[in-house]
Amino acid sequence: MIKGLYAAASAMLVNLDRQQTLAHNIANIETIGFKQILTTLTDYEKTSVIFSPGNISHASKLYRIGEIGLGTDIGQETTDYTEGAIKATGNPLDLAINGAGFFRVRKDNEDYYTRDGRFIRDAENNLVTTDGYYVLDTAGNPIALPDENITIERDGTIRTTEQVVGQIALDAFANPNQDLTRVGGNLFKAAVEPSTEVEKGIIGQGYLEMSNINVSQIMTQMVMVSRSYETAQKMVVTQDTLLSETISRLGG
């Protein structure tokens, strides 16, 4: 009976965790290049159930009748890397990736990856993110822009009317869920070198990739989580009532 109480309570805790992930996803509905977090649930520990005939003289006849779960636990968090919708902004330094690639950006000698293509020029004319991270070219160097209008081609080549300035790097990963870690600020950190085999996609100038959150899916999940929480809570109350009945009937 106590086992059941804790199992029901574990469902409450887990659903609280899922609610937080939903809150995080909802808060990032307007975040450019945001990839939603998915939660999974797993079984918590299992324990054997021993049947006792309830008679001391037959104590030797205790036997195992199977296993009972002790509740549920939050599983591995995964990131949904599917592409978000592409929105036209007409801003020349807004870039969107159509495909699996990431922009490579750098700050304090650390390289990060991002799908957020809101770039600006910094005071020294370098191409940077809105946080001041340098956008890197294919050779891994920051890109210094000339004092004039630029066009960016589908493969990332930056051109002025006369010359080629550089090429924006796109890197892709074979298994982004294992290779990349979310570090906040729309950035990911890579554990391995980018793959050379995966198709990287093309760059669209004047476009941005919206977050890949599906509002109706989120709403449904939220209803599910809150109902599931409610159910678990009712279970705790039921277990509590049973326990109290047992104590008052048998103890009295």
């Binding site: 975040t31 906040g184 509002v215």
Partner: protein
């Protein structure tokens, strides 16, 4: 990893505050749909992850002014100018520093010392390079030419050589059969340059600070101002008798407003749901 009601409610609360903040930006854009030289802004949302709370919702990391070219409409007014391309007009603030603007609504105002100056619609004098180093006297009538040339029309006497005619109206011919030429005087209006309106550009115009009255101020993010003659690359050109319209796109702002409203509703709904869960947890023990 541990979630708590406080964190979740905090994320939703923060999110609602941000939507309202974003609403301010949209309202500002919408209210400036007819402001000359206005550049629309947007809020840049960003994901927040913290070590204590693994998921922290989002923040607005910056308000980015988008320096798109506004459409240029002809007004026919003599002192209206529009910049096509990059660059800002610069005006002198009372504290001696410069402010920058794309609003080319100018007027000619008389100084106390009987000279003239060009004044921006904000009431501050426009920075102008006068050809002879000082502003012209109030006796001239200033005109603006294309690409920022300031000048005036001067009545000049010119001499032209004309054939000489006799009393019968026939040209006079000399012994060799050539026309005999004489000097004749005539007067004409000529455009004489008095000064030049220069443009100032920044590496990162999005980094300029907004000062109000259509004026921007240089900041450490905008980079160093560079001055140049209009019409020479990379500076834009100046068109006289026209104004640059606001870049606010009503359709874009309205659709953003709808998305914003939906986001706010979603957050509020999430807040309520979380509150219901919390309420249930409290009421477990009666």
């Amino acid at each position: 990893m541990s979630a708590s009601f406080n964190t979740i409610l905090g994320i939703f609360k923060q999110d609602m505050i941000l939507r309202v903040n974003d609403l301010d930006v949209v309202s500002n854009n919408l209210s400036n749909v007819n402001t000359t030289g206005f550049k629309s802004s947007r809020s840049n949302f960003q994901e927040v992850l913290e070590s204590i709370t693994p998921q922290g919702g989002s923040i607005i990391n910056s308000h980015q002014m988008l320096h798109r070219q506004g459409s240029i409409i002809s007004t026919g007014a003599p002192y209206d100018i529009a910049i096509h391309g990059e660059g800002f007009l610069s005006v002198l603030l009372p504290d001696g520093t410069n402010a920058y603007t794309r609003d080319g609504h100018l007027q000619v105002v008389e100084n106390p010392d009987a000279t003239l100056r060009l004044e921006h619609s904000s009431g501050y004098p426009l920075n102008v390079t006068w050809t002879d180093g000082s502003p012209p006297p109030n006796t001239v009538k200033i005109e603006l030419g294309d690409n920022g040339i300031i000048g005036h029309q001067v009545l000049v006497t010119k001499i032209i050589q004309m054939p000489q005619y006799d009393e019968n109206g026939n040209p006079v011919v000399d012994a060799n059969g050539n026309l005999v030429m004489v000097d004749r005087e005539y007067t004409a209006l000529e455009f004489v340059q008095l000064g030049q309106i220069n443009l100032t550009r920044f590496p990162n115009p999005s980094g300029l600070r907004i000062n109000g009255e259509n004026l921007f101020l240089a900041s450490e993010n905008s980079g160093e101002p560079a001055e140049g003659t209009p019409g020479t690359a990379p500076f834009g050109s100046i068109k006289t008798g026209a104004l640059e319209q606001s870049t606010v796109d009503l359709g874009e702002e309205m659709s953003h407003l709808l998305a914003l409203q939906r986001g706010l509703t979603l957050s509020a709904r999430g807040f309520q749901e979380t509150d219901k869960m919390l309420m249930g947890a409290i009421q477990m023990r009666r």
